[in-house]
Symmetry: D2
Subunit: 307 residues, 4 copies
C-alpha cells in the first residue's frame, strides 16, 4: 500500500475544507492558533512514518492526553480502576454534571472530563502534582521515543484560571468520595496533562503501541499487554468522541480520541497509528477537517475495523 500516495489523496479530499469549524476560544492560548493549520502523520507497526502538511508542528493535545493517562493508571492500579469510573458512552456533552448526580459520583468513562479527573486522581495518589506530571512526561517521551515533548505552561495556567466547570466536577466527585486527593492538586495534574504539546508525528509515535499489540514500534518492549491494548482501543471506539462517538465509528470506523486543540489520534489495529491536526471544531467539539481526513484515509486504505 502506497501510503504516500494515499496521504496525497486525503489532502486532495480535504483541501477545500481547511479552516472549517470553530477554533476553541475559551483560553487565549488556544484561540490564537492559526485555523488554516492542517497536518497528518501515519506511523506503521513496521516503523515507517508518512506525513503531510503541518505534521511536525506541536499543538495542544488536550483530551487526547486522556488515552495516555488512562494507560498509566491501568498500569498503576489495574482493573480496580473500573470501580471508580465506568466504561460506557455517556450520551451527554464532555463536561456534563447531570450523569454524575444520577450515578452517585462515578463518571461514565475515562474519556469525559469527570472520568479523566478521576484517572488523574489515581495517578496522584498522595504525591505532589509536580512528581506525577514528571512521570506523565517521562512516559510520553518514552513511548514516542522523543525527549523533546513538553507541557505548555502558558496553556496549563490558562486552563487553571478558567476551569470552573472542571472544578465543579472535581468538588462534586469529592463529595461522593470519588476524589481522594485535595481537589486543587488533582485539578493541577489534570490541567497540566491537557497542556501537553505534541506534533502529529510525535502523537502518532506515542500511540503506536495501541496498534502494535501493546508493544513499542520496532521492538519487543511491551507498554501494555495485547489484551489491554485491545481494551483501550475498544474504549476509544465507544467513548473517544464524547457525544459523537457513534458518528465517528459510523463514518471512520477506527478507534480514536479527539481533543479541543483540534487533534485526533486514531488506531488501525495491526497496522498503524494516525494523528491528524486541524484546529476548527464541529458542533460536538471534535476537529471538523480532522474527522473528514480520517474518513478519507479509512476509505482509501480499507482500514476500517468493521470489514
Amino acid at each position: 500500500m502506497n501510503l504516500e500516495a494515499i496521504l496525497d489523496g486525503v489532502r486532495a479530499d480535504v483541501s477545500g475544507h481547511i479552516g472549517e469549524g470553530k477554533v476553541a476560544d475559551y483560553i487565549p492560548a488556544l484561540a490564537k492558533v492559526d485555523p488554516s493549520k492542517f497536518g497528518m502523520a501515519i506511523v506503521t507497526v513496521d516503523g515507517d512514518a508518512f506525513t503531510i502538511g503541518d505534521a511536525a508542528e506541536p499543538f495542544s493535545i488536550q483530551s487526547v492526553s486522556k488515552v495516555f493517562t488512562l494507560t498509566l493508571a491501568l498500569g498503576r492500579v489495574g482493573e480496580g480502576l473500573w470501580k471508580r469510573v465506568g466504561r460506557e458512552p455517556s450520551g451527554t456533552p464532555f463536561n456534563s454534571i447531570v450523569q454524575l448526580e444520577q450515578e452517585h459520583g462515578i463518571p461514565r468513562n475515562p474519556f469525559i472530563n469527570a472520568g479523566a479527573i478521576v484517572v488523574a486522581d489515581t495517578l496522584l495518589s498522595g504525591h505532589e502534582p509536580r512528581e506525577t506530571l514528571g512521570e506523565v512526561l517521562s512516559f510520553m517521551r518514552h513511548i514516542s521515543g522523543d525527549e523533546g515533548i513538553v507541557i505548555d505552561r502558558e496553556v496549563a495556567r490558562s486552563e487553571q484560571q478558567t476551569g470552573f466547570r472542571n472544578a465543579a466536577l472535581a468538588n462534586y466527585m469529592f463529595s461522593f468520595s470519588n476524589i481522594h486527593n485535595p481537589v486543587e492538586k488533582t485539578l493541577g495534574v489534570y490541567f497540566h496533562q491537557c497542556a501537553l504539546s505534541l506534533s502529529c508525528i510525535q502523537l502518532a509515535k506515542a500511540g503506536l503501541f495501541l496498534a502494535n499489540n501493546g508493544k513499542l514500534g520496532g521492538s519487543n518492549h511491551s507498554v501494555v499487554s495485547a489484551e489491554r491494548a485491545r481494551r483501550i482501543n475498544a474504549l476509544m471506539l465507544t467513548c473517544g468522541h464524547y457525544d459523537a462517538s457513534g458518528d465517528f465509528a459510523f463514518r471512520v470506523g477506527l478507534p480514536g480520541k479527539s481533543g479541543v486543540g483540534g487533534g485526533i489520534l486514531a488506531i488501525a489495529p495491526g497496522r498503524a497509528a494516525i494523528a491528524v491536526w486541524s484546529p476548527g471544531l464541529n458542533a460536538n467539539g471534535n476537529s471538523a477537517t480532522g474527522t473528514r481526513a480520517l474518513e478519507s484515509l479509512a476509505r482509501r486504505t480499507g482500514w476500517s475495523i468493521f470489514g
Copy 2:
C-alpha cells in the same frame, strides 16, 4: 483455525455458568423457556458452519431483529433514515422515554426500542402490517437461505397485550410527527418482528452478509454494499447492547446485537457470523452466559476487531 476445537473450549469455559441470569418474564411465552438451554453457531465467510449445544432449536430473537429491519429500511429510504433516528449510544435503558423528550422525538439510535419503532414505521409507509411483515419474513428467509423461518404468533400476541411502554414511545413520537402511520399499525409490525423465531444456525446464516462485505455467503450476491455493512457493524458495536454496549466492546471486541430472548448475533468482519443463545439475562438485559461465551470465543480466536 480449528473452530470445532475452539467451540469445545468455549463450551468448557461456560459449562459452570449455564442457567445463570434471569429469564425474561414479562410475557408467558418467554418466561416458560428452559433456562438451561445453550447453543452456539459459527458460520464462516467460506460457508462452513460449526455448532454446539442447542444450536438448532428456534428461539425468540426479539431485538436481534432490529439489525435486519434496519438493513431493510436503509435499502428502502437510504441515508435519509438518519433524519428520523440518530446514531449515538443512548446512555439509558432500552425503553427510556426521557431521551425522547429532551431530543424532540428523535430516538438516539435504531437499536433502542424507540428507534426500532421508527424503523418499523419506515418499512410500513402506508401499507398494511401484514404486507410489511411478509416482506420482512421473505428477507429473513432469503438471507438465511432457509424457508423454514417463521414468526411466533403467540409471542407476538403476548407482546401486543403487554407492550404499553412501547405504545407510550410510539404515541410520544407520533406527537412529534416522527411516526407517520397509525400507531397501532406501526406497533403491529414492531411486535411481530420481535417475535421472529430462529435457531442459532439460522441466525448466524442470516447475519453472515455483515461479515462478508455485504454479500450472501458463498456467492457474489450483495445484500448491501460493503460500506453499508461496515456501517451497520459500527452501529452494532456502539449501540447493540443498550447501556452495556461499552462493556460488550471492552470484553468481547466484536459488533453484536442482543435480544431479551437470550440470543446474541456477533460479527467477526471478514471471518464469520456467530449466534449464541442462553436465556438467562444479566442486569442490563443481555444474555449472561451468551456474553461470556462470546468473550471466550473472541479470546480463543483472536477475532477481536481491536487488535
Copy 3:
C-alpha cells in the same frame, strides 16, 4: 369594598393588553377563538356576583376542570388517592414524561396532565366513560347551580384525535400499573372533561365552595369538608400553573388553576371565587392577560393570602 369599582379599575389596568399572548392552536376548535375576548367574574361568599366584559360567554375550561375532577375523586377514594399521585410541584412542563420515568409512573401532582389522567382513571373505576362523564356533568351543574353547563363534543373529538402525547402518558403509566382501566376509556373521560364549556360566571360559581369552607354559596350544604377545601387550595397554589406556579403565587398571591383555553379560576379564601378568561397564553401556557388581571385585582382588593 366596592367590587364593581374595583373591576372597573382592573379593566383599566389591562385594557392596553387585551389580545396579548398566543391562542392555543393545537386543535381547530381552540384556534378559532377570538383573541380579543376578555371576561371576569367575582362571586363572593355572600352570594353577590360582579362581572365585566365577556363574563357570560362560555369557553373551553380545559385544565381548570382538573380542580373539579380532583374534588370528585377525593370524595370517591379519599386520601388513598395520594398513593397514586403526588402533591409536589413538578418543575417541568405540563406534559412532561421525564418525571414519570424517574418516579416510576407516579405523577407529581393532580394538576399536570399525567396526574389528571390518573384522577380520571380513579373516577372511571370500571364504569363506562359515558356514565362517569354524566357524573362529572351533574357535579358541575350542582355546584354552579346552573343546569346549562355542557361538554363541547367538537372540542372533545379534536382532543382525542390529536392527543398522542396524552396517550403516551397514559400508556406509560399503564405499564407501571398506575392506570387501571383500558387506556382508551380513561383517555375518553380525560379528553371530555377538558372540553367542559363554562362562562366566567358559571366557573366562579362552581369554584365558590373552595372559598367558602367547602360549602355551596348561600347555603350550609357542604361539597367537601373545610379541611379538604383548604388542601385543594394549597395544591392550586403550589401546582396550579404548571412550571409558573411559583411566579403566579409571587405576583398574584391566590390559589389558582389555569387552562389552555385562556381561563383561570382563583380563590380568595373566606371571600370570593374569581374566574377570568382571555385566550392569549404566555410562554408557560397560562392566560397572559388573565394573570395580569388577577394581579391587578389582588393588589386592588388586598386579597393576597400572603399578608
Copy 4:
C-alpha cells in the same frame, strides 16, 4: 385566642413523637445535638410571645437563614435579583446540580443551596466576607431586637471543610458567570450565614416583619414594603421546604422555611411568626416533629392561609 392553651395542646399532640427522625450528621457540630430537644415560640403582631419547651436554647438555623439573606439582597439590588435566580419550585433535592445544567447556571429559587449561594454572592459584591457577615449579623440583631445573636464559628468551620457539593455548585455557576466574586469568598459568606445560631424565640422575633406587613413588631418601622413581605411569604410557601414544599403547604398551610438543624420558621400573615425546633429530620430533610407541631398549631388556631 388563648395561645398558651393552644401551645399546650400542640405539645400534647407531639409528645409521643419527640426524638423521631434522623439528626443531620454531615458535620460533628450538628450530629452531637440532643435529638430529644423540642421548642416552639409564637410572637404575635401585637408583640406578645408564647413559648414551650426548649424555646430559649440557641440552635443552628442553617437554611432558615436564606429568608433573611434574601431580604437583605432584595433591599440591596431590588427586583433585578430575579435575573440571577428564579422563583419556581425545583422538583429536586436541595443540593441538586442537574437543574443548573439544564437551566444554564440560573438556580430555580433562592431557597435551594445554589440559589442561596447566588444571594450570598449578591451581598458580597466586592467586599470582604467579614464585612458582609458583619452586615448580616447586624440585620439579624436589628430585626430580632436581640444583640445576643451570634454565628457559631465551629459550625461554620465544619461546613467549610465538608462543603464540597456546595463548592461544586458555586464553581459550576461561576462557569456560567452567575457568581461574580471569587468562589471561596462567596462560599465563606454562605457557610457562615448557615451557622447563625438562634433560639426559637429569637427566630420568631426575627421573622415577625413577614407577618406584620413588612414592619418590625410593635412599631411603624418598615423592614421591607408590605408587597415585598407578601412576595417573600409566597416564595416560602412554594419553595421553602425543598422537594416537600407541596406537602408542607398541604398539611400546614403556612409559608415556612426549614433548616437541617431542625428549625422551621412559619408565618401566619397578619397574625404571628412561629419558630419550632426539633433536630430529627424526615426523608426530605425537614424537621419531622417540627412539621407535625406546625400542623397541629395550624389546625388548632385556624391560621391556614387557605381558608
